[in-house]
Amino acid sequence: MLKFENVTKGYNMKKALDSVSCEFEKGKVYALVGPNGSGKSTLMKIAAGLVKPTCGTVMYNDRPIGIESKSRIAYMSTEPFYYDFMKIADVGKYYGDFFSDFSGDKYRELISFMELDMSMKVKSLSSGMAAKLKMAATLSRDAEVIMLDEPLNGIDLIGRDQIINSVIKSVSPERAIIMSSHLLDEIEAITDTVVMLKEGKLLLFGDAEEIRAKSGKSIVELYKEAYSLNSTFNPADWGDK
């Protein structure tokens, strides 16, 4: 469905992604994990068409990233990105104007679920409210791939439950959901597949259940092992990679 082949992205002398190859399938929830600078956001932005790879190919349903993929892939960046002049209602109108899979009814429902108000100005929202707005707009699309970059950033405990619940509601056999997070323990329960990145390289890509069964450890424990100093972590023992 969404396939990365030897994808590298360089900024100056640094490689944000280094020869990453992997494929995301529909019907699964992916946890994209790794410390800051591991390449999670870059990978998502490439799939969203916002960043162009230095080399390698990214294909969506066997076609390069472009208009077609952008109309089927919903991306939520970790940073706030809505225009300052907008109100929450305007964000919905904007998405409705450009994305044929956007549902205004679902948007209203999610905005209400997130305890936001349509008349609020985007510029005046707290970071938690802005994060909820991004979630509501992104999940109101009936997209085949939903990518959420750090959806729990800046959200309080109650808000996290709201967000996790709205993600659960969006799970479908026809859709892939890719979530990046530092708060792995919060998303492990809803994750089917784990994708670990380290310094731009793919460290581990595999079924969460199988990895847990093989290793006898939780994904959170493996994460700590993989990214600790003097790590002896061998991904070949646990995943496809």
């Binding site: 992205k9 900024y11 100056n12 932005k45 969203a48 068409g49 916002l50 960043v51 162009k52 472009g66 208009i67 077609e68 952008k70 109309s71 991306y75 960046s77 940073e79 706030p80 990105f81 809505y82 225009y83 300052d84 002049f85 904007y94 104007d97 450009f98 994305f99």
Partner: protein, 256 residues
């Protein structure tokens, strides 16, 4: 593309409101000066009215570039570039929005100008009016073509700046002093454009050194049409190249 244009208008809302208010204030000054027969107010009204044409063009130029740069530079660019639209549609919508703003501004400006001129004509002649009347009688509709060409050049300038700016966020994104390099690229492209026109024109102009042009119509028949045609041709070619170049960079090379 119409929806893209709609949002470009919303982004330019501030410019439109400020321009409308400024033009309104100037018109009020002019009318007060005219009806109260106050020479100072009238003079300010007329002077600012003419200045408004220049400042209006500059304001549209600055806004067009400011909005584009802000979307290349800030996270709000995600809103635009994640849309299922290609680079040609995105750049095209920005240029078309500037064109529509310019046309609307031009119509409002000229209408006000005609209205003001009529007011003054009704009251009786003056030296300035005598000059304007003479000017109008000498010129013909070909003047409109020169105005059109001037507007075309202005658009080519916007496109050239778009191209240079896009270069800084694509091929030059990892280079220090990328802004300065982009400025040099812009200057080089501008020089290339004017050199191309001058090179073709020079032979024609050289032959006219000793020619006395008795009237505007003689000027037009000797060289005016040639200048217009050449300027139009070169600017269209250059503008299309800049548009395609910018759109290609946005589509294939831009990383936000």
């Amino acid at each position: 593309m119409l929806k893209l244009i709609k949002y470009e208008f919303i982004k330019a809302k501030t410019l439109l409101i400020v321009s409308a208010v400024a033009l309104g204030v100037i018109e009020v000054l002019f009318l007060l000066g005219f009806f109260l027969e106050n020479g100072t107010l009238f003079g300010w009204g007329v002077g600012l009215f003419f200045a408004m044409m220049f400042f209006g063009l500059v304001a549209i130029l600055i806004f067009a570039i400011k909005i584009f740069v802000s979307e290349l530079k800030n996270k709000s660019g995600y809103m635009l570039f994640m849309l299922p639209k290609n680079g040609y549609q995105i750049v095209g919508s920005k240029i078309l929005t500037s064109l529509i703003v310019l046309i609307i501004g031009f119509i409002v400006y000229v209408s006000l100008g005609i209205f003001n001129l009529n007011l003054v004509l009704e009251r009786g002649g003056s030296d300035i009016l005598y000059f304007i009347e003479n000017l109008i009688s000498v010129l013909d509709w070909s003047v409109l073509l020169f105005v059109f060409e001037y507007i075309l050049e202005w658009f080519v300038m916007i496109l050239t700046i778009y191209f240079a700016v896009t270069l800084t966020y694509t091929f030059l994104s990892n280079v220090k002093a990328k802004g300065f390099i982009a400025f040099l690229v812009y200057m080089a492209l501008n020089t290339l454009l004017s050199t191309a026109i001058t090179a073709v024109l020079s032979g024609k102009l050289f032959g006219m050194v000793n020619m006395e042009l008795a009237s505007y119509s003689q000027f037009m028949s000797e060289i005016g049409w040639y200048m217009l045609g050449l300027g139009f041709f070169v600017n269209v070619i250059f503008g299309v190249l800049m548009y395609v170049g910018t759109s290609y960079l946005v589509e294939k090379k831009l990383s936000l």
